[in-house]
């Protein structure tokens, strides 16, 4: 059984169809990249998968359960957690408390949640900032915190939205390595990324969107040779 099965997913905003008849699946253990030019519908797809907006039509099955109508917190509880393209910390809470909010999902007791959150902070290399306020972190730290909060919910599928955007090469490599490691430990990833370099480097499989439709999928090598993709996407990017 696929971990995630999306069939004929569609979302309209007024007259605009942001996502149109999208069908794909994600297998356990994969890192799947979702790419496409700006406005292709990637963030909208994420918002539907994570319960923030309801699909106009179509079906999303996660671990065999339909999650179309679920709220984000319910989706999260099932093991599907997202991060945000624009980082969303809790600014007046400490870094530890930020991560604890995620950890509370499966550890209602504060002592346990704190312990889990500390483990996560070690993983994302932010343990030394545990007592700092969320608002004083730098962008690379915030990007890692964004992953850390989500990680603390112990997801089986993690959706990362442009998690490397705005980072320098070294910082980016650190995050990519983290993703690879977590993937080896069993977490499945669906990642949206603008930077081809990141996607090609990380993904086992790539899905290409354009104008809300899937115009191709395959291994990074296949994708980089697919004429439709090249025309629609690669030509527009650097």
């Amino acid at each position: 059984m696929s971990l995630l099965e999306v069939s004929n997913l569609r979302r309209d905003f007024g007259g605009l169809t942001a996502v149109h008849d999208l069908t794909f699946s994600v297998e356990p253990g994969e890192i799947v990249g979702l790419i496409g030019p700006n406005g292709a519908g990637k963030t909208t797809t994420f918002a539907m998968l994570s319960g923030f907006i309801t699909p106009t039509s179509g079906e999303i099955l996660f671990k065999g359960t339909s999650i179309n109508k679920l709220k984000p917190h319910q989706v999260c509880l099932l093991g599907l957690t997202r991060t945000f393209q624009i980082v969303q910390p809790f600014p007046d809470m400490t870094v530890l408390e930020n991560v604890m909010i995620g950890a509370y999902t499966h550890h209602p007791n504060t002592v346990d949640a704190k312990k889990k959150a500390m483990e996560v902070l070690e993983r994302i290399n932010l343990a030394h900032k545990a007592e700092e306020q969320g608002k004083i972190l730098t962008l690379p730290e915030l990007k890692r915190l964004e992953i850390g909060k989500a990680l603390a919910t112990e997801p089986s599928l993690l959706l990362l939205d442009e998690v490397a955007a705005g980072l320098k090469d070294v910082e980016m490599e650190e995050i990519l390595e983290l993703v690879r490691q977590l993937n080896r430990e069993g977490i499945t990833f669906l990642i949206v990324e603008h930077l081809m370099k990141v996607i090609m480097n990380l993904s086992h499989r790539v899905i290409v969107l354009d104008f809300g439709q899937m115009i191709g999928q395959g291994t990074p090598a296949e994708i980089s040779k697919n004429p439709a993709v090249l025309a629609a996407y690669l030509g527009k990017e650097d």
Partner: protein, 333 residues
């Protein structure tokens, strides 16, 4: 392991001792001021759970105060039910109304200034509704008939009885508030205040939590309403449902330090005595001088210390101690 007594523990201990022995030394007038301090501290702590922790700024909390005051007083006046029971019925009533209001607002995404407006409107509606029901006193209000020193009817000879009652209520409220904020429920409320979408994405049932916070806050506020009625022995629609109490309740929380355990207490502790004493000095009319004072203090607070008195205190403390981390929440005190 080293046994460590925190400075805050000592401070709280001292406060408690002073609190309990105060009536032995203070005259009636000072006990009265202390009752006011404790009453508004209690109300601000209650408001703070919804307004400070969850960040949902109710500007119409008098709605719940009025429900508490009217329920217990009406039941006492009409069927002679002791306010000790009426108080809880009022609390339950306010809890149901709070849950209903919370559900309607939060289910349909009413938040921020819109939530504030809805709560003002509801409290104001309550003023008009109660004013137009003659059987519960109409515009005249209700009087709590004096039955002599009758603790079983929540009536005490002199002010000390009331003082001890509101002291215990405030202690319980502060304790509850500090207990809540140290556990999942409290942290999740904070996360809603800080970033609702992020909270929801991390598994926080934001709708349920906001409704729960509203209910808890409403029940506590209504219990305070009963105390108010018993202490002043007279209520009318504007005095308990009006904008006056609504604003006062949140004023002390904002000035003391919104979203903190002790901020609401500090706010009342600092402001009430100033307001009361200045009333004597200025010799002005009750409403005029006080509103002017509160307005000025509020504006100054917003401008110069957005985190309230406690925020300012921590800022200075931070300068001296170079912000050594205490391993706990900076909000804790």
């Amino acid at each position: 392991m080293k046994i460590q007594i925190k400075k805050s523990t000592i401070l709280i201990g001292l406060l408690l001792i002073v609190g309990f022995i105060l009536p032995r030394f203070a005259g009636e007038y000072y006990i009265h001021i202390s009752v006011l301090v404790l009453f508004y501290a209690y109300m601000a702590v209650s408001w703070n759970i919804l307004g400070g922790y969850a960040g949902q700024h109710s500007l119409g909390h008098a709605l719940f105060m009025g429900i508490g005051a009217y329920t217990s007083t009406y039941l006492f006046t009409v069927i002679g039910l002791t306010p000790w029971i009426g108080m809880w019925l009022g609390g339950a009533f306010a809890g149901v109304i709070g849950g209903f209001v919370g559900y309607l607002c939060f289910r349909y995404g009413v938040k921020g200034p819109y939530f504030a407006l809805v709560t003002i409107a509801l409290a104001e509606a309550a003023v008009y509704i109660v004013t137009n029901i003659p059987s519960i006193g109409g515009a005249q209000g209700l009087e709590v008939a004096w039955t002599g020193n009758a603790p079983q009817l929540m009536q005490f000879d002199g002010k000390s009885g009331y003082y001890y009652m509101i002291l215990v209520m405030t202690i319980i409220a502060v304790w509850l508030s500090s207990w809540l904020i140290k556990r999942r429920f409290g942290y999740q409320l904070l996360s809603i205040r800080e970033n609702e979408d992020a909270a929801e994405a991390l598994g926080v049932n934001t709708l349920r939590l906001k409704i729960q916070a509203t209910v808890i806050s409403a029940v506590m506020t209504a219990l305070g309403g009963t105390f108010f009625a018993q202490y002043f022995t007279y209520i009318n629609p504007r005095a308990v449902f009006g904008e006056g109490p609504s604003v006062q309740i949140l004023l002390f929380a904002i000035i003391g330090g919104i979203g903190t355990v002790w901020g609401p207490v500090v706010g009342a502790l600092v402001l009430i005595p100033i307001a009361e004493l200045s009333r004597g000095w200025l010799g002005g009319t009750f409403a005029g001088a006080q509103i002017l004072l509160y307005g000025t203090v509020l504006v100054l607070t917003m401008l110069f210390m957005p985190n309230g008195i406690l925020g300012l205190y921590h800022k200075f403390l931070g300068k001296f101690q170079n912000r050594q981390s205490d391993g706990g929440k900076s909000e804790a005190l």
